[in-house]
């Protein structure tokens, strides 16, 4: 099945890394104030780069600062230290060059699909007719032409997220940021959406930074994976552990999920993430005889 | 679409503001004389002349504005009307608050229509000792109650007064919250009818002349438009004659009843409680004598009452609130 020679994969990755850096992340850190006056450091000293045309995923356990990171990159949050560079220039604040897709769809409920996709174009000062025809192309790209005049409440979760992607893409962003975009979808839709996303990425000149906590998703989609670690006794904040190349050929197919390189990568990341999970003592739970519970129910 | 409706809304806002500004414009000489009148038989009687067009005949342009009693005084004090129908005592209250005015016409004296109505079981003023009485503090019924207490050798300290708007007195008595109320018609009558066993234990008939009902004109208006006011005053005897002439009495009652929106038969019952003043009576009452037989004497009593009860503290001269000249000039 995936008998693609390793060289072609590694040469592809090498070629990718030789592309110009779209998004540079330089020593980024985020500290939140606590109500009691102290502070929590969600993230510190994170540095990595995303290259042009690259599909990069960020993975890490819950609470390791993934959302903080991507919100800083989207400009929705200010970094407490370090900086972000877009095409080599320091950048901050929200801006359509760094498009964002949220887990919670965030479609404007009062606008139809078409108007949602037109939103960013009109904010950019584009005239109605041009915005409309461009928006229709993007809607076509995500396969929702039939639903252009429908309100979001009439769409399924997967469709909503496709509209959100079209909406972000319509602005022709330099990089598309996605924060667990498929986290709220059921397994089947999620798999479908992954395939859609890869297709779109293939067809459009696009760089993606994709956050997830799902290992399979991270590997299946990515060229490279940034593994973030949760705070530990030694490092009391979220931090970058490692960046892993994914040794899988493109285009990706579902069969690759069971391929040895895939499983090896998965084991490696699991090792990274899990090695820090120390079994903890918890209070013993009270013992209840099942029969008792059963009796109650019946 | 949104933009055009916004524009429409803006137009509305400007219109509203303009409306307020227009309404706030001061009264000018070119306007009709504005008289605020309210629900009291002596003043409802003006409707006869209004409906019959007698003011036009007399060559005076008068605009009557129908109001509640207290709001009518407020409008007068704010300078929004030229004249208001009030009791002589309340005219002093407005004067003490800085609104100088002259009573140019006496409509009537209350002759039973102002009442102290007590619930069943209380049959005299003496029975009120230690009881709660609801009335509008500082206004005419308060004065009448004090007169009643005085006549029975009592003082305000012997009772507990509760401030109740006159319009609400019937319900207040019915609710049992007070033992008696002070009110004028139609409220006093409503209280009598709606509270079983209640009784008028004291009325203005017991102190005739305590309450004179007059037309008070602002000093400015009287100063600048005296000829018009003379024409205004000249119509009143015609109204009184129309009410008292047995041939026209029924029509008079019908017109008055229509003003207050009640059946004529019902309204007719209120008339005996009001003694209408014809020219002769008015001329006599305008004489500067002591005692309740003259407005001045009555106003002096009211003034003493008002000072004693701290309704106001200003030293005012009751004589300055009267202008008998227009009535004295009548044939």
């Amino acid at each position: 099945m995936t008998d693609v020679p390793n060289e072609s994969i590694s040469s592809r990755l090498a070629k990718l890394k030789s592309q110009p850096v779209v998004l540079g992340i330089d020593n980024l850190g985020k500290t939140y104030p606590r109500p009691d006056g102290s502070t929590t450091t969600a993230l510190a000293k994170v540095s990595f780069s995303v290259h042009r045309r690259e599909f990069m995923t960020v993975i890490g356990p819950s609470g390791c600062g993934k959302s903080s990171l991507i919100r800083i990159l989207a400009g929705l949050e200010d970094a407490t230290s370090g900086q972000m560079l877009l095409d080599g220039k320091p950048d901050s604040g929200p801006c359509p060059d760094r498009g964002m897709v949220f887990q919670g769809y965030t479609l404007f409920p009062w606008l139809t699909v078409l108007k949602n996709v037109m939103f960013g174009l009109k904010m950019g000062g584009m005239g109605f007719d041009q915005a409309r025809s461009e928006a229709l192309q993007w809607i076509d790209l995500v396969g929702l032409t039939k639903f252009a005049d429908v309100y979001p409440h009439q769409l399924s979760g997967g469709m909503k997220q496709r509209v959100a992607i079209a909406r972000a893409l319509a602005n022709k962003p330099r990089i598309l940021l996605m924060d667990e975009p498929f986290g709220a979808l059921d397994a089947q839709t999620r798999a479908q959406m992954q395939a859609y996303l890869l297709q779109i990425w293939q067809n459009v000149n696009l760089t993606v930074l994709f956050i997830t906590h799902d290992l399979d998703e991270a590997i299946y989609l990515a060229d490279r994976i940034a593994v973030l670690g949760a705070p530990t006794p030694d490092i009391p904040h979220g931090h970058l552990q490692e960046i892993i190349d994914v040794p899988l050929a493109r285009p990706r197919t579902p069969e690759q999920f069971t391929s040895e390189p895939f499983l090896a990568t998965k084991r490696r990341i699991e090792g990274l993430i899990h090695k820090r999970v120390v079994p903890t003592m918890v209070e013993p739970l009270p013992m209840i005889k099942l029969t008792q519970v059963g009796d109650e129910v019946v | 679409m949104i933009r055009s409706s916004l524009r429409r809304l803006a137009t509305v806002a400007i219109a509203v503001l303009g409306l307020g500004a227009a309404a706030a414009a001061p009264l000018t000489a070119a306007d009709a004389l504005k008289v605020a009148y309210s629900d009291w038989p002596g003043w409802v009687a003006f409707d006869i002349a209004i409906q019959k067009g007698w003011y036009k005949e007399a060559g005076v342009d008068v605009e009557f504005v129908w109001m509640e009693y207290v709001p009518s005084m407020e409008a007068f004090q704010a300078g929004k009307v030229d004249a208001v129908t009030v009791t002589n005592g309340d005219q002093l209250v407005m004067g003490a608050a800085g609104k100088s005015s002259k009573a140019i016409l006496i409509n009537d004296i209350s002759f039973g229509n102002d009442m102290i109505v007590a619930k069943a079981g209380i049959t005299s003023i003496k029975d009120l000792k230690g009881k709660k009485i609801g009335l509008e503090l500082g206004f005419v019924e308060h004065l009448m109650l004090l007169k009643a207490l005085e006549a029975n050798g009592m003082t305000e300290a012997d009772v507990t007064l509760v401030n109740v708007p006159t319009n609400d007195t019937p319900q207040t008595l019915a609710s049992g919250g007070v033992d008696a109320i002070g009110a004028w018609q139609p409220n006093s009558g409503a209280a009598l009818k709606s509270v079983p066993g209640s009784k008028a234990i004291y009325t203005s008939k017991d102190v005739p002349g305590l309450i004179y009902d007059v037309v008070a004109v602002s000093t400015e208006s009287l100063g600048t438009r005296k000829a018009e006011w003379a024409n205004f005053v000249a119509v009143w005897p015609k109204i009184v004659a129309f009410i008292q002439d047995p041939k026209t009495k029924d029509e008079a009652v019908k017109i008055m009843a229509a003003r207050v929106n009640v059946p004529a038969a019902e309204y007719g019952l209120l008339l005996p409680g009001t003694k209408f003043f014809d020219t002769a009576m008015a001329k006599k009452a305008f004489m500067p004598t002591e005692g309740l037989d003259s407005v001045l004497g009555s106003s002096k009593v009211a003034n003493a009452f008002n000072l004693a009860n701290k309704v106001y503290e200003a030293k005012i001269d009751p004589a300055a609130f009267l202008d008998a000249s227009l009535v004295q000039a009548l044939p």
Partner: protein, 339 residues
Amino acid sequence: MAERWFAVRRDLSPRRQTLLTVGAFVLPLLVWCVISYVPFVWHPLITVTNPGGSSFLAKDMMIDRGMFAAENAKVVAEGKPAAEGYRSNPVFLPPPHAVGRALYTAFLTPPVRKGEPWLHESLWHSLTIIFWGFTAAAIIGVPIGVLCGTFDFFAKLTEPFVDFIRYMPAPAFGALMVAVCGINDGPKIAIIFIGTFFQLVLVVANTTRQTDRALLEAAQTLGAKGRHLVLHVVLPGILPNLYNDLRILLGWAWTYLIVAELIGASSGISYFINQQGKYRNYDNVFAGIIMIGMIGLITDQVLAILGRVLFPWQGKPPGKLGKIILACVGLFRRKKVAV
């Protein structure tokens, strides 16, 4: 499975909903009928038909039952004929048929007095007072409320004062408003304005604060900034809630009408109610109250349906009436295009 009447946060079937809605009106009416027509329910008074030997009782007098019994016992003990009467309710509670008749005749009886408005003209006058007072409050209050809800600057600048002044009873400003706005409609409109404006600012500010932060962030990443965020995200986002707020506040406006119409020149439906109350015509008073209630109910229902037409993205079905409105709007639009 049989449908349950009590299920936490579940809609009942349309049939049951209608049933309950009808019941909501029929039950109070039934209670009112029972109290009015069943002689042994309440009826705390006796209306005297024949005073008999009593010197104190008189025909048509209404008297407390206990007192009537005591008086009668006394009269009988003195060997005089007993008084007669029937049980009745206080005049404050007229029976339904009297109110029904009053409602019916109120509109058909021409005003006795020359120049006096018909009842429907009085009602219309009241409606215009409400309309202008409320519209002015909304026109000025909504933008201020939205600004307060959007920018903390405006919230801190205005809200404490607004919060302070909204506790002041609007009717207390009556005399001042007459001094400022004259004696005609000005002060009445002003009272409605004062009564609703300050509440409105706070309510709108609160609603504005409920704007979904995620939508604001999404809009920002799409390039929306400053006033565009307010105009294209905050405003449309809160519009349905704002609309509902205004619906509720419109009810408040009505509660101020009753005082507003008694300052300055008396006018409108409140004057009708007040005047009829003074002369104890409580059937007319009730008729007036019911008219206000019906107007309120009808406007609110119409506004609710209109709301579903105006905000189709909420996914609430517009209902039959709404569909008719939509069809009319559609016709209108097509015509416009054709022209």
